[in-house]
Every structure is written in C-alpha cells, then in structure tokens.
Point group: none
Chain length 308, copies 5
C-alpha cells in the first residue's frame, strides 16, 4: 500500500528523527484497517503484570494464551500490539512480521506497597531481537519515583531511537500533588502528562481520557481565566492534543476500566471529534469473548474511519 | 534416548528461544527416570543459606556433604539439581556431565532484618564454567526490593539465554500488600506469581502449591464472580498453569515445609492431576535418611509417570 | 496484506534466526507487486562506486539523482532497493518506510590496482539509523582478500542479525584458481559461490546466472561423472538452488551486463523455471530511460508472477 | 545412561579443564551407539566449503539438504556432527538437543590461490547460541599462515573453554617443508601434527591416518635409529597416539578420500587395534546413498565396539 | 619439600578450582612449621583500621612498623600473613617470596556510625602485584549491608580465582536478627556464618570460636531436637566444621579478644580436637613483646603438630 498524504504529514512532525524511526512509525501507521488514516488502535496487554492474571483474563479464558492476543489484534485489523517481554516472546516466532509490536519495557505490580514505581523488565536489544517497531514505557509523574522513571526512559528512548525504534510513553500522573483518584484524570493533569511525555521525546503518547475536573489550584486559575473549554470530551481531547505540541505528536487514549459498549464508543467518537490520534484498548477488548471483542473493535475502527 | 513427542511439544512453546536454550531444556527434560515425560522432579538445596545449616541438615547429617546431594539426585533418578555456587563447586568435577545442574544465583539469609531481599552470589560465567544447564533466581514480588530483583533477573536472564542457558525463576510473593503467612500461598497470589515470572521471560517457574485462600480484595471479587474453581488442589494447580501462558510454561511446585509422607504424596498426585509440570523437593528429601528419601522420591516419580 | 503460505514456508527454512530477522525477511517478501509470492526483484545501485558514475548513469542522466532510484523501485513495484551509504542517505528521509532497503556495506572501485578487494564503507548502526531491512556484502572467493572478506562478513552478519537485520551476500568468485572472465560464471564456480555464501550464514544470496562452462578440473570430473544437467539455463539454475541448501536459501540472480531486453527476459524465464528466488537488476534498469525501465521491470515481475 | 569407567578415565586426562568442558566431553562421549565406550565416530561436513558442493554432494543429492546430514548422524547412532555456521543453523532448531554438534570455525576454499589458509567464519557466541558442545578449527602447520592460524585457535580455544565448550583441532600439515602430497600423511608429519595440536590445548585432535613414509630427514634418522615400528597401520596409529600425550588425548582419524568399503573398514580395524580414539568420516558416508551409508557406519561402529 | 598426603587430600576438596588456585593453596599449606600438616596458623593485622593504631600497637610499639609484622610471622614459622594494602606494601619488596601473604580487601573503621559495613580498599590487581597467595574479605551477615558485601565478594572472589588466587572470607554475623554481643558468637550463628562463606565460594573461612549459646529461636528448636552436642568447645568446633561442607573447607578460628595465654592455648587445643583447620591470631600475638609472642606462637604450633 502507498503511504498516504496524512501519514506523510505526520512524519513531517517528527522532523528530528532518523529515517529508521520514521520507517518504524510508517510500519505502525500503514498496518491494519486504519492503515494510512493517521489513526491508531493498539492492543496493550500489560494488565496481567499490573493486576494479576485472573483479573485480566478470567472473564475470557482464551486470553490466557499469548497466541490468542496476537491473533485478536490481527483478526481485528488493529494497528499494533504492545506487551511485556515474556508475552511477546510466546508468539514472536509464529507471528513474525505479521503485526507491528511494541515491547513494554517496564511493569508495575499490585503486590508492592504504595510507592508508585515499575521494574524495567526488558531491554532495547530484546525489542530488536523480537522484531518490534518500538518500545513502551510508563512514567508516573508526581510519584517519588518519577525522576528516576524519567531518567530511565531518557536512556531507553535514546537507545531505542538510535536503533530505529519508536518510543511510546504511557504518561500516568499519580501521588505527589495529584489528588488520589479523580485527580489523576483531571484535565489539567492529563494535558500536563501529555506535554511532559512530548518533552521527554515520546513519539507516541498514551494518556487517559480527561474528565472536566481541574486538580491543581494554580492550573485551575488559568483554565478559568482563559476560558479553556472543557465542557465536552471532544473539547478536552482537543486541549490535550494542543498540549502535545499543537497536535504534532500522536496521542492515543486508553479505554480505561472495562465499561459498557455504548459508553466506550461514545467516548471514542469524542476522541475522534477532538482530534485524538486513536485508542489503546486492552481490558475492554481482551476481557470479552472474541466475537464480542471483534464486534467492538470493528465499531471503534469504523469510528476512526468516519464510518460510524 | 530419543527425544519424545511430549518434549517436542514443550519446545514448541519456547518459540522465542535460541537452539542453545532449547538444547539445555532438552538436557533437563531427557534426564533421569522422568526423561521424555515432560515432567520434572528437581532437587534444590539452597536452604542452608536461607535457614542455616543445622535447620537444613542436622536431621540427616550425611547431607552436610555436597557430594551426598549430587549422589542423592543421581540415585533417585531426578531430572536435575539446583544449588548455590559453593555447593555446586564442591562436586562439579566429580559429577561433571552426569546430572543437569542449575546454579542458584541469589540467596537470602535469615540473619538479615525484615526487608525481603537476596544477594546475587554468582554469575552466568560461573554457570558456564560449572557446566550447568541453567540459572535460578528468586524474586519476592511485593517486597520493597521487588523492582530491583526483577531488574537483576532481567539482566541475568538475558545473559544466560544468550549463552544457551535456561532461566528458572523462584517466584515467592511476600510483604507489601501480601498478607504475612497465609497470604503468601493464597491462590490469587501464587497464580499472580507464576504469571509475573512468565512475563519476565522465565523458562521454568517455581511456585508454592496454592491454598484455597484469596488474599487481595480486588482479586477476590473476580474469583468469585467468575466462579474460578479452587475447591481442590488439582483445580488450583490447573488455574496456576493457566496463568502461566495457558500452560505453555513449565511450572514446578515446591514441596514446602517438611511434612508427612502421605500428605506430600497426595499433594503431588493433585499437582499431576492439575497438569503441573512437576515438583522441586528439597527439605522433604534431603532431611530424611537416604533410604527414606529414595523411597519417597521413587513414589513421587511414579506419580508423575502415572504409575501411582 | 496477510502473510502467505509460501512466505511461511520460506521462514521455516530460516529456523536458526530470531523473530526480528524473520520479521525483516517478511517485510521484504511482502512488499511490492511480488508480495507473498516468495519471489524477489531487487534494484541494486552500487555500480557507481565500482565503475564510476558516467559508466553507470550517463545513458540515463536522471539516475544521477538518488531520489530517482528510490522512486524507480517504488514505481516499478519492486521488492526492495540496495545501495551504498551515501546513496541511501540521500533519500532515506523522503522515502522513509516506503520501500525495504538494504545497505550495501562494502564497495569496490575501478581505480585500485588489480587485487580484488572492497572497502567496508558503512556500519550496521547506519543500517538501523536508515531503517533498512538488511545489509549487503560482497565477497570475492578466490581472491587474495577472500579470507579477510569472509571474516568481515562474519562479524557484520552477526551484528546485523543480532539487531534483527538480514544478511545478503553478493558471492562473486574471481582470481585465484578461477579463470578470468568465463571462469567467473562457470556453473561449478557459481554454484560453489552460492554454497559458500549459505555456509557463511547469508539469508539471501546473490550470484550471477551460470553458463554451461566448468572451470575447475576436479569439479569437471564430478559434473561429467554424475551427469549434472547443464544444458539449459533452467537446469543450471536448478543446480545452483540445490547447492544453496537444497533450495532452502533465497538466491537471486544478477542481470549481469546490460543486454537486449528479450535476452534478459528469456534468461529470467529460465531463472523462474529453474526455481530461482528472483532477480537483482541494476544496470539493465537504471541505465534505460524510466519508461523503458518500468516496462522492462513490469515484464520481469510478470514472469515471476507466472503471468508471462 | 550412567557414565562408564572408561569415560571417567578419559576425563581424568583432562585434569586442567573446568567441569563445564568436562561436561561437554561427557555429552559427546555418552551419545549414540558408542556411548560410554570411549570411542567416537563423528560426521564432519565441511567439504562443501573446501571442495565445492557438487564434488561433495552430487553423488547423493539428498545430502545437499542440511537436515539430511543431521538425520544421518542421528540414524547412524554417531557420536556427533561437525559443520560450518550456515549448515548447523539450517537444522539447529529442528534438532535442538538431539545430537552433540561441533561448530567448525574456519573454512578453506579451493578457489583461492596456493597459500594454504582458512577464513574464520563463525564465533564462540554462535556455538553457544546453537547449543554446540564444542568448536572445531583447522591448522595447516607448515604453511605461511600457520603462525596466524595457531594464534587464532589460541584465542578461540581459550574463549570456548571459558564457556564450557571443548576445542577440536583438525591438524593438517601442508606446504613449507612438508613434501606436497605424500609428505602430508607421512608418519613423522602426522604424529608431529597430533603433538602440536595437543600442545595447543586441543581436547580432541583430528589427523589423517599415517602412511609408512617419513618426510623430514631429521626425523627419519630418529625413526630409524630408534626402530619405531611403522610396518602396519596399527603400529603407526599406536605411535600417533603416543605422540598425543602418551594416549591421554582423544585422537580421531579422518576417512580421507572416498575409497572402497573394505579398504576403509580394514583401516578402521587398524585404527582400533592401534588404540585410536575413533573416526571422523565425512565423504565416505554422506556421498553414498543413505542405506549404504548406514550400513557402512554400522560396520564402523561395530568395529569400535569390538563386534567386528 | 614434598607435598604430603594430607595436603593432597585437602586439594581434592577443592575440585572445582583451577590448578592456579590449588597451587596457591599449596603455597600456603606447605609453608612454615606446619607445612604439610594440613593445619594453618595465620597472622592477621587489620585491627589498626578497625580499632585505631594505639589500641592495636601501643602495648608493643615495635609493631607499629610493618616490617616487624612480616618478620614476626617469619620468625614464628607461621603459615602466612594477612593485612590491608598499605601494610603489605610496606614490606612486600623486602620480604618478596619469603612468606605467603593475603591481601585484606576491605576494612571497617570505628569512626563510622553504627551501620556495619566495610570499605573495599584494594584490588585483585594489587594482590597480584604484591605476590599474594590470596585475598581476604569480611562479610557481616545480618547487617543491612550484608547483601552488598556478598555481591562484592562474589565479584572479587571470581576475579581472584580467575587469576589463581585463593579467596578467604572472614564471616562475622552482626546486627539484623543477631543479638548484639553474645549472639554473634552463638553456636548456631557461627556455624551458619561458616556455611554461608562456603556457599559463597570461600576457599578458606575465618570465624570466631563459638560459645554454647543459641541465638535464633528457629535454630534452637533444631539443635535441641537433634541433640547437637555443644557441651565443649571441641564439640562445637566439630559442628562448625561439619557445616563447612562436612569438613571439606579449611576453617580457621580467630583468637578473639586478647586473653590470658592459658585460656587461649586451651581453646586452641579444643579447636584442634574438634578438627578445626587452624588459627588466625592477631591481637594475641602482635600486642605482646616479640619474645612472648614467639613463645605463644610456638605453643600454638606445637598444639597443631600434636606436640602439646
């Protein structure tokens, strides 16, 4: 398939990157049903490490098998698939070259005490060995570990890019001055998260869909003084995109906790209307029986193709 | 001996690994009385470092001598033997090539204050020099040190595999949000432990046999909502195997604290019935007089051979 | 596009390689009009270094511009494009992700005295930075430099593969015991060249179409005693493929010196009939005006698609 | 299978080596039909690189396929299989763990001009990745390149042993003061070749069966003065073994050029009677149709088992 | 002097070590008046770093001079001398080759706050430069620093052995779960200390003579249940030796705090009767006037020679 003007335009935003990194972006942007549209729908499966396997897969036991997840992403025509080391390895040979993959480099676990941090569980060499297009990394801006995490992604991102891999940052503020719970998805916090990820050199940024809340007092004053529109999800997405270099970074939004289908699709319509680059949908897809998941992902893709 | 279809099938699960790593898996899976069955019974002797020598060997003083332990594993027809550096060295020449060995890379000690951690006491180069088939490493998910431990095994595992050695993870959750004592063997915790080890790239996973308890509230809800069967040990083992990539990772279960023979054998029958890959039996074997230990291990092997 | 059974079969021949290398093979085998057919037509442009620019480009001055060459490969629907460092760099950004590229790592020049050798003019890091799928390297078996060249490709090949790139060897015997001129394309010499490249670990092998001559006396005896069919180009190609691990390596054949179109197409039909993996056509394409070149390449591709 | 007293005795000769190297020796000495006998029959297939593919495989075209060669060694119950990089790779995954393999590290080619040398075409890391028990290396004592070759094997041997791999030296004197042709297999030359390999640290030595000729004048005087028996092949083999540290190194003898079966078997009986450690039989096995090859190898093995 | 059967037997215990390491052991075991007996009396002088110079040397000011200490060890016919970098350097030239020396690699100091740790103050290269037979290292099992210390000795021990030097571990449990003071010399603690040092790969282990106390509750139960004899020092020494790989590691016992001569000699008689490998006597020797020290050491040596 020919590269499209939209993808060409997106590449122009990444002017500082090597042809290798741009080539990896193209591989992602030209794969699946959204190929060429400039939109992305990615399957992420790192919940097993973060929440435990039963909470992740018990509702659809077929998903305990790593091959199922590769196949789901392929059958649904998604743009790519992101997972930790062991999960990618158990399928990397069978599915070699069939699907852009992103190696999730760090992982949280719910057994550890409060302190928000993650272990770096893979290396850039692993990503190359497994044929990935990029590496993914979570940061927790606000947490005590956030400076260390940022320095880890600095090194990993630099090594990845020097080998032609893209860098994806999951930017999830928590603790520190961020109010527990609602604060983590407040508009000022999410847009700040997206901006920091862009500043850290992320090629693709993953954040949560923002609510209309504002969490930091200092921010609140500005949002109100400047009348920043946060009345609809579309407006809020538009603001987040603006905070990602005036929309010149790809920002994908998580589906968040499993929710009802209509709610999810409405949210995605607003992500599209607000100019978001796409969705990264884990639990809402792999926790459903495959037929249901394929139906849902078909709807999601249609939304991004402006067919629904 | 010819490699069996069962071993061939097991190798197919490790599709991401080099021929060297697969060859080491074959050496382990084709040794001893269980050769070719796809089942493993391994003798681990790292309790001396963790609990002290008298608690480990005083009941059967012959076991103070490292040669005794090699010979026990050989005479019993076990699949392999795992121990720390000094203990393997004191016998590695005498028993060279006679028994697959696994170098235990880190060791806890009971003198240190609470914080669960271990010292890395050997290197991958040692494992090669000693002719081992792999390296073993303990992680304590939940502990303050768990992120560091995961990063240590990431580097050790990668170095080991690049030299054709297999990676074995002892995954033992403790502290953090894990309830002290009973929580450590709760079903949700053990299956989570197995899943994390798989995600970290372990070729073989060691966990404790799970009880029917559930420890984390968030997990409890899912286990109950999804009616995950935990009524028998066999059902619980089946769940743990499912959490290890739908049974596509070798998972061996510890014998746990010394217990009466019949209790132990019943547990092992259920491990077998639940599809577990085998047992790793330390204290229950080397703390008994040799004749008793051989009788016990003979029974265990017969169970895995479906002869008892 | 879905990976085809033919491509799956080809991957199975490369069983020793990582998923990363297999993924790069897929990128090449799934690109262009021959995608999925298991056949390859590649544009190589390293003649400028070897023969000087005027001898290479004066007949079609548009080809002095590196962008022209990228575009030619794209417009013709070729599988990929191979060139030295500077030539790939001048276009790598514009064409990022649009075409599989192979970085030619060493280059001869016609100014140096007779001794057949080449300079290594690029690095594996360059190939990664430029987003290539692989590296290419020429060896001159027979030359005084041949042992050094083989040791260079050993190191380059190993580094490339460990980063997920494929290794392509241009195997061109010359000097030493090889008769100058006709000896270099004798059947025994070409098939030996292909076999050595395979033994050196090449993923893709480039040789010249063999004539029915035999050059080495020792070989001649065997070819005659064993009645090895060399009566047609197809028979000779079949023999060369056999010498490449019973056809389990991809072997592409150069177009050789510029020749008349019909002669070239007939040769390519025989390469196809003999089971060759495809063609690597430089001078015969870029030295013609673009329209003629596209017509020619269209014919070539149709032949490999069994449409002509 | 239990390690035998004979193998134990052989290990005692390698007292300077690590348990890892001894373990690899055990793997070789305990494999196949000769397991435990202290004798070795190894299949080497590096003739394709040295003489070209047709001269090597045309008489039995099935042997063009690397899998055929692995399978031949397995079916014949040989001790192991030695081949260059590409040939081992094409089969290493399929046959992982089934057969001890030796990576041939350097390769000659018949296209190069007279100067006897070889290219080092693989690395110790490759041997580990492919799960080999050792590395093999040819030296040409006498050639202009011999000092370089000895220094190459010094480094390769040291790296191999430090990773638990054995070192095998093909010691083939040629050129320099060695008379071309007959001189290369003269008794003084072959025994000198074996001795040098032992001095270079070889664990296993490969030489050609010696004739009763003496090549160097200085040696001739001593052989005659000391009445060294060279009247029969058995006597000559006994002398060669004596020159290999009084028989404390494993020395295997090549089958040499393809010859008639009875001649070959008689020679092997004498190798056995002279105390040789075994044979390394390439062309005489893989150039015959498989059934014939299996019959021949069966006879050879019976000889070493003292059954024929 | 001929190596004795006793020393031969001791070397057989170190089967995993290189000839270089065994050669260093022989140098130590064949020096001084105890040469060949399998017993060792070593002079250690690291108290200056740990307690300050006046506490160490003021009672016998001659000992401020490093040459005095070398000469004392020589004149007394001791097996060897162990000290930190500067102290060995001041004398290494004068006494080159006259006395086996052990470079003490880490040192505590009494100025630092409580946290038990030591600084690594020398390198293996220093030990080679100074002609030492080995390196010494203190660990404090139980302390917060114990994991780090164990990882330091892992690296130092491996480097030392790979250069043919022996590794000596001073294993001194303190803090953590070890009761301050009496706990540090309790039988369960000392035997555990010896066992850990053995597992860490120590060639020679230094511990304190144990009292009949038991410190850890879990250990206490076992000692009582198994009726482990701790009634006499000899019985306790016997138990410690058992915990050092059934007596297959050399364990030497410190003299501990300065005490009266008869008490010290009685303790040493019991160390001998319990099968201990010898003594390492610092303060009790160098703090006395030389004549007294020589008398004392003469008595000690006679005990180990069974002459007193």
């Amino acid at each position: 398939m020919q590269i499209t003007p939209k993808v060409k335009e997106i590449l122009s935003w990444y002017e500082g990157e090597s042809p290798g990194v741009k080539g990896s972006l193209v591989r992602l942007l030209m794969h699946g049903r959204l190929a060429g549209s400039g939109k992305l729908v990615i399957l992420p499966v790192d919940q097993g490490h973060e929440h435990g396997p039963a909470r992740s897969f018990a509702s659809n036991p077929a998903a305990y098998d790593p091959h199922y997840l590769y196949q789901l992403a392929l059958d649904a025509g998604l743009s790519g698939y992101a997972a930790p080391l062991g999960m990618l390895e158990q399928g990397a040979d069978t599915f070699a070259g069939q699907l852009p993959t992103i190696l999730k480099m760090n992982s949280a676990n719910s057994l550890a005490a409060e302190g928000a941090d993650q272990a770096v569980t893979a290396s850039v060499k692993d990503a190359l060995r497994l044929g990935c297009v990029g590496v993914g990394f979570t940061i927790y801006p606000g947490s005590d570990a956030c400076y260390d995490m940022m320095e880890e992604i600095r090194d990993i991102g630099r090594e990845a890019k020097s080998h032609g891999l893209i860098s994806v940052i999951w930017s999830y503020p928590r603790s520190g001055k961020v109010s527990k719970g609602a604060g983590e998805t407040a508009l000022d916090i999410v847009s700040y998260a997206a901006h920091m990820a862009a500043l850290l050199g992320a090629n693709i940024i993953k954040v949560k869909p923002p609510t209309d809340k504002l969490d930091l007092d200092a921010a609140k004053k500005v949002y109100e003084a400047e009348n920043i529109d946060r009345s609809t999800m579309a407006a809020r997405i538009r603001h987040v995109m603006q905070c990602a270099f005036a929309g010149k970074r790809l920002v994908v939004f998580s589906g968040g906790e499993a929710k009802d289908t209509e709610g999810l699709l409405n949210e995605i319509r607003q992500i599209r209307d607000g100019g978001g680059s796409g969705s990264i949908i884990g639990r809402n897809s792999f926790r459903r029986p495959k037929a249901e998941a394929l139906d849902l992902l078909d709807e999601v893709i249609k939304i991004y193709l402006n067919e629904a």
